[in-house]
Amino acid sequence: MAADMRLPRVRKTLSVSESASHRRDLVVPGDIITSDTGFMRGHGTYVDDDKLTASVAGEVQRVDKLICVRPLKTRFNGEVGDVVVGRITEVQQKRWKVETNSRLDSVLLLSSVNLPGGELRRRSAEDELTMREYLQEGDLISAEVQSVFSDGALSLHTRSLKYGKLGQGVLVQLSPSLVKRQKTHFHNLPCGASVILGNNGFVWLYPTPGQQEEEAGGFYTSLEPVSLADREVISRLRNCLLALAAHKVLLFDTSLLYCYESSLQHQVKDILKPEVMEEIVMLTQQKLLEQEG
């Protein structure tokens, strides 16, 4: 019960591999990218004294003659096909507004959701009136980016049984730059829980659903209590995610699982202590290196 109090410490950067500090493509604002005038100036750069200079901290990307800097600390810039986790902020006419950690709220059109019942039909005025029964303000959803508007706002869709309203579980909000792009962002982890690693940095942890239960178009949520064992796994995964994010480790199923394994010798609530966090992240990085090499 006694509260754990300590002096703050300067956080060390933990890296097993030395390569990160020698990477030439990582720049900070003011770094000269090139003094060759043959290149075009893209996002995140400006020309100073005929030299192309970075205006944000991030990774340099070159496409032919165009040089951009992709910032690392940023809001979510969605692309078509990205898996996102978001929260409904507003119910409007024929659309929901969704908070997805982007600069503008995303849109989920009534015509791009699977309505309960599953059958494909025209959306009637009645459907429009009962929109709040499907999704109301504060509800969490998983969805896919259908298109990007010219102002950068995203249009989402949930036209698949794997997307839809989220039930019981825990949301962890992290930086979108930390989520690794992969073939699938839905994982049933062997430790007994499932995770949706949204490209927008929102991660959803939930108990693995039992038998592929009767799907009601993703709108049915079970309010049965989750077992204590599942809870412990979910809480441990949550703290692992935060530990990995604190030390800027790329998030994907393997890194999360290795981190989970490394944390098993500690109590769940101790994982967030700085020294335990360091230890676990070091172990995870070692395991990841071994697996690569």
């Binding site: 300067v10 019981q168 309010l223 809870r231 769940v268």
Partner: protein, 291 residues
């Protein structure tokens, strides 16, 4: 006030978790998140402290100024509280948005310190009826992630501990006029006895149980909370109920008992840490705000 949005299903998950004494971050119902405390972080104050609790960050600065004692209590100094909510914490605080929360917290602090034992106010008196030290306690909320009251009270206790008030002497000149003389030695200063300074414990009623150090998400699930300030001996100096919901007398009693127990346990590690930091001396560099 800063709030988090939580969906119905998330609420159910949090509620059931608390019922089973396993919260979302793995803590039990009476556990605090780990706390980082540093004193003397602002050089132009007489005492200051920064406390981070999860993502909650509070900075407290204390300035001592010479003022006139209150007419009813001529031989005591006094404390003034001011709470400022930085718009960095949440955009809602922009402009005058944080004022309501700020006055609410400062009013609570006045109540918490409104007794003879918390701070020895008589030691702040310079000459009865004429001059006394006024301690301006300025609280700045830098980040909000729940449990502002507890973090603030710990920061105030730490800041009071680090406060150094210059020693003054009163000399009488030939015509009977009094003059205040400041000591030449900058290290000749007076410390404040902080042993009896209370810490605040906020207990949130969630479902049928109560939790301490609630996060914003847990706060969103609770209807009412009880704020209790407890000294190291377990004496309660102030209780307040906040939130729209009601508490039945039995749970108020239970929560007070739990608050006393938890509050008492806060003081020992805090004092130990403050003394440890002091023993490190000036040579160890401060982490400050960029660590």
């Amino acid at each position: 006030m800063a709030t988090a949005q939580v969906s119905e299903a998330e609420k159910v998950y949090i509620l059931h978790g608390i019922r089973e004494d396993l919260r979302v971050d793995g803590r039990g119902c009476e556990d605090y998140r780990h706390m980082e405390i540093e004193t003397d972080v602002v050089s132009n104050t007489d005492g200051s402290a920064k406390v981070t609790l999860g993502h909650t960050a509070v900075l407290v600065g204390i300035k001592a100024e010479i003022g006139k004692p209150r007419p009813m209590i001529p031989n005591e100094g006094y404390l003034e509280f001011f709470v400022d909510c930085s718009a960095n914490a949440t955009p809602e605080f922009e402009g005058r948005g944080g004022e309501e929360l700020g006055t609410e917290i400062s009013n609570t602090l006045y109540k918490v310190f409104n007794n003879k034992h918390s701070v020895d106010l008589q030691s702040l008196c310079i000459s009865p009826g004429e001059h006394c030290w006024v301690l301006y306690v300025d609280v700045l909320l830098l980040q909000c992630d729940g449990n502002l009251y507890d973090a603030t009270s710990v920061a105030i206790k730490a800041a009071l501990f680090s406060t150094k008030i210059p020693r003054v002497h009163i000399s009488t000149d030939d015509e009977g006029g009094k003059e205040i003389e400041l000591s030449d030695d900058p290290y000749d200063c007076m410390r404040i006895q902080v042993e009896n300074v209370p810490c605040i414990v906020t207990l949130c009623k969630v479902g049928h149980r109560h939790v301490v150090d609630a996060t914003l998400q847990e706060k969103a699930c609770s209807v009412a909370s009880l704020i209790i300030s407890v000294t190291h001996k377990g004496t309660v100096t102030c209780t307040r109920k906040v939130g729209g919901g009601s508490l039945d007398p039995e749970s108020v009693f239970e929560m007070t008992e739990a608050g006393k127990r938890v509050g008492k346990a806060l003081h020992a590690p805090l004092m130990k840490l403050l003394q440890h930091e002091e023993s490190l001396g000036r040579k160890t560099p401060k982490v400050g705000f960029l660590g």
